[in-house]
């Protein structure tokens, strides 16, 4: 009885968690214009999604989302990895202070990050658009990369860097030929994480996109929904995005499981 209750609780919890996504996914396979009406199974929405049923501005938004995501992930991976190496080589109190400072942006509510960046860009006098959104995304992704790369550095034999210098490598060569190959797996994990965070973001983007018509997928959908109901083609699109993010998450998990296993073998 106790076991049944425990299991039932878990099932209810998962159903509540996933019901909204499931509903979107289910209703992506019907033609009804209004969400909630079932007019029989059809893949027409998927067809129209891929045959231009979305309209130009929507395609542009998807493009922006993906390019901003990739660029932000790339920049924050580079910045975050370098920062992690720096933090790793710090000692005592300084290191603790920096690690703490690195944690704050992650705990900070997105809306505050968004408004702060908005005010910053206005204060500096930068015209807002693609570049400001990209900069904002880099700034909130970087701490996550730091957090992903640091444990890998701690696992590394501390003498490895010295061994490289000892064998005649300059510090730059040692970084390129020894340190980066060592932390590459966690850099890739950090990149994927940064990418998913970027394409997922709404609040920060909303405040930094300016008013010259730049939209990412999330801000576009928000505007679209407010104009008068969701475009039906968004339902298959969201289902596909969900599946893509799910795939990325599975990849991250498998990678980290494999890393842990390696650690255990050692």
């Amino acid at each position: 009885m106790k076991k049944l209750l425990a299991r039932g609780y878990l099932v209810v919890l998962l159903v509540i968690l996933y019901a909204p996504i499931l509903i979107i996914a289910i209703f992506s396979f019907t033609e009804a214009k209004v969400l909630g009406n079932w007019t029989g199974f059809s893949t027409k929405l998927y067809e129209s999604l891929f045959t231009g049923g979305l309209g130009n501005s929507m395609v542009k938004a998807i493009e922006n989302t993906i390019t901003i995501g990739l660029l932000a992930a790339l920049c924050s991976t580079m910045l975050g990895s370098v920062a992690a190496i720096g933090i790793h080589n710090m000692k005592g109190r300084g290191r603790k202070a920096i690690t703490f400072l690195n944690d704050i942006p992650m705990l900070n509510p997105d809306i505050i990050t968004g408004i702060s960046l908005f005010i910053l860009f206005v204060a500096v006098g930068v015209s807002q658009g693609y570049v400001t959104v990209l900069l904002a995304h880099i700034s909130f992704c970087t701490p996550y990369v730091v957090l992903t790369v640091l444990p890998r550095l701690r696992m590394m034999n501390p003498n490895i860097y010295e061994a490289a210098l000892d064998l005649g490598a300059t510090p730059a060569q040692a970084l390129r030929k020894v340190i980066i190959p060592q932390i590459r797996p966690s850099m890739i994990s950090g990149f994927i994480l940064a990418f998913t965070l970027s394409i997922d973001d709404f609040a920060v983007t909303l405040f930094t996109k300016g008013n010259r018509g730049l939209e990412t997928l999330s801000t576009y959908i928000y505007a679209d929904a407010r104009k008068g109901g969701l475009t039906p083609e968004l339902r298959p699109l969201m289902t596909l995005i969900f599946l893509a993010v799910l795939a990325l998450l599975i990849i991250i998990n498998i990678r980290s499981a494999r890393n842990n296993k390696q650690k255990l073998i050692k």
Partner: protein, 460 residues
């Protein structure tokens, strides 16, 4: 200047966070020499090696290579290579690429790299392993690769930081022999760091014994073993009986309550000394005639090659003796020590002596606290004095809070009938104590100086 000298360390000093780890290190290392830096953990041996490698910069002093100061040269421009304790192989490269790492950086032609890597692999008997992943190798094999990776660059000096410490005993012995052969074959100067005295005696041309950031003695293994210059070296290298003695005159010394002939001269008359007797140098026999003194066997343990016995001597001292024959516990034996086997050392100190200041007629200030001292009455407040306390007049108590000063037992020596302890106070001052009580290294103790046991002497 001697042309043979490759590396010369001159007045090297280094401290971490205000703690002095190296204090005025001076050492010349000859071309092709196998030098071992030997000492307990924390003695500064690894720091010295890291200074030579260039991973650390000295606070003071110079490191000369062929007479030129290289203190400011970064490690990648020094013609030295290092073998690390935990191997530090590159896990993302296979055995071949690990070894070729340095040669590739030097842009050596590929066919020459290939030739040299294969030759060195043969030398460390790892010929068939070149494409193996380094993490799949055993500890011993990894260390061979690490040695090969260093030697393939033909360094002027090979630095080895406890390279065998992580291996099991059998593997360690084999590797010792191989290292010695490689050294003989290549003629490269080796600087080797270890805390294992047996390893040092086996491998080295020269042993440098270090403790607390200083070099205590440097010399070839035989002289280090037979003629230790102080009690620490005698105790650290091999087994020994270290006893308080008195030099009566040249070639005549008193210890164990008896007088002996010895070969030492120049200490003066009636001077307190430390005497070292190696356990294998005491002759033990059943009959008493022909012996110098007698004793009773207290214990007898078989140690493989010899028996190790503890004998109570007729004047109440305990001696450790090693002999090929076993003697029955409880039996009376005759004992004899030859003049040549008596190693006499000048005592580093005969009593504690500290800087202190008079507070008032009944108190002095010592190590920053005020304590009672009857002798203070003879001085005026504010006078600087030397406070002296005999070793056997220092009282140690179990709890730190019960003492005037809190301390930790840092080093102990058994002197035949009592222990001689070095206690390190919280502020880093040394207090030496003679006691019959048994303490262990690392014990936390309270230190008390009784008012009447503190003698004072004016300082100008």
């Amino acid at each position: 200047m001697n042309k043979d000298i490759v590396i010369s360390l001159q007045h090297l000093s280094k401290s971490y966070d205000g703690k002095q780890v190296l204090d005025d290190i001076n050492l010349d290392i000859r071309e092709g020499e196998f030098v071992t830096l030997l000492g307990p953990s924390g003695c500064g041996k690894t720091t010295t090696l890291r200074l030579i490698a260039g991973f650390l910069a000295p606070d003071g002093g110079k490191i000369l290579l062929d007479g030129k100061d290289i203190s400011g040269v970064p490690p990648y421009r020094r013609p030295f290579n290092t073998v690390f304790q935990r191997y530090a192989l590159f896990p993302h490269l296979d055995v071949y690429d690990n070894i070729a790492f340095g040669l590739k950086l030097q842009k050596v032609p590929t066919d020459e790299i290939d030739k040299r890597v294969r030759r060195i692999l043969k030398m460390v008997s790892m010929t068939d392993y070149e494409s193996r992943d380094v993490e799949s190798l055993s500890g011993g094999q990894q260390q061979r690769v690490a040695i090969a990776r260093a030697l393939v660059n033909r360094p002027r000096v090979l630095l080895l930081d406890e390279p065998l410490a992580a291996l099991d005993l059998k593997m360690r012995k084999d590797m010792q022999i191989e290292l010695k052969e490689m050294h003989a074959q290549l003629g490269i100067t080796f600087i080797y760091v270890t805390h294992d005295q047996e390893e040092a005696l086996t491998l080295s041309d020269t042993i440098v014994v270090m403790n607390e950031g200083r070099i205590l003695q440097a010399g070839d293994p035989v002289s280090i073993y037979n003629e230790p210059q102080n009690a620490f070296v005698a105790d650290f290298i091999g087994e020994s009986n270290i006893l308080n003695g008195r030099m009566i005159e040249d070639r005549r010394v008193e210890f164990l309550g008896h007088e002996f002939d010895c070969v030492d001269e120049g200490f003066g008359e009636n001077v307190p000394v430390d005497v070292v007797i190696r356990p294998e140098d005491v002759y033990i026999m059943h009959k008493l005639e022909g012996s110098q003194f007698s004793g009773t066997v207290k214990s007898c343990t078989f140690k493989g090659v010899h028996y190790e016995m503890f004998v109570d001597t007729d004047k109440g001292y305990e001696l450790m003796i090693q002999d090929y024959n076993a003697f029955e516990v409880g039996s009376t034996v005759g004992l004899l020590i030859r003049p040549n086997d008596i190693q006499v050392m000048r005592k580093e100190r005969v009593r504690n002596s500290f800087d202190a200041e008079i507070v008032d007629a009944g108190h002095i200030s010592l190590f920053g606290s005020e304590i009672e001292c009857a002798a203070a009455a003879a001085f005026a407040p504010g006078d600087k004095v030397r406070a002296m306390v005999d070793f056997d007049k220092v009282e140690l108590v179990d709890h730190q809070e019960d003492g005037q000063f809190a301390g930790e037992v840092h080093f102990l020596l058994y002197k035949g009938d009592h222990y001689h302890l070095t206690v390190l106070t919280e502020d880093g001052d040394h207090v030496w104590v003679d006691t019959d009580d048994v303490w262990d290294k690392g014990d936390l103790v309270g230190v008390n100086f009784a008012s009447e046991n503190i003698k004072l002497e004016a300082v100008k």
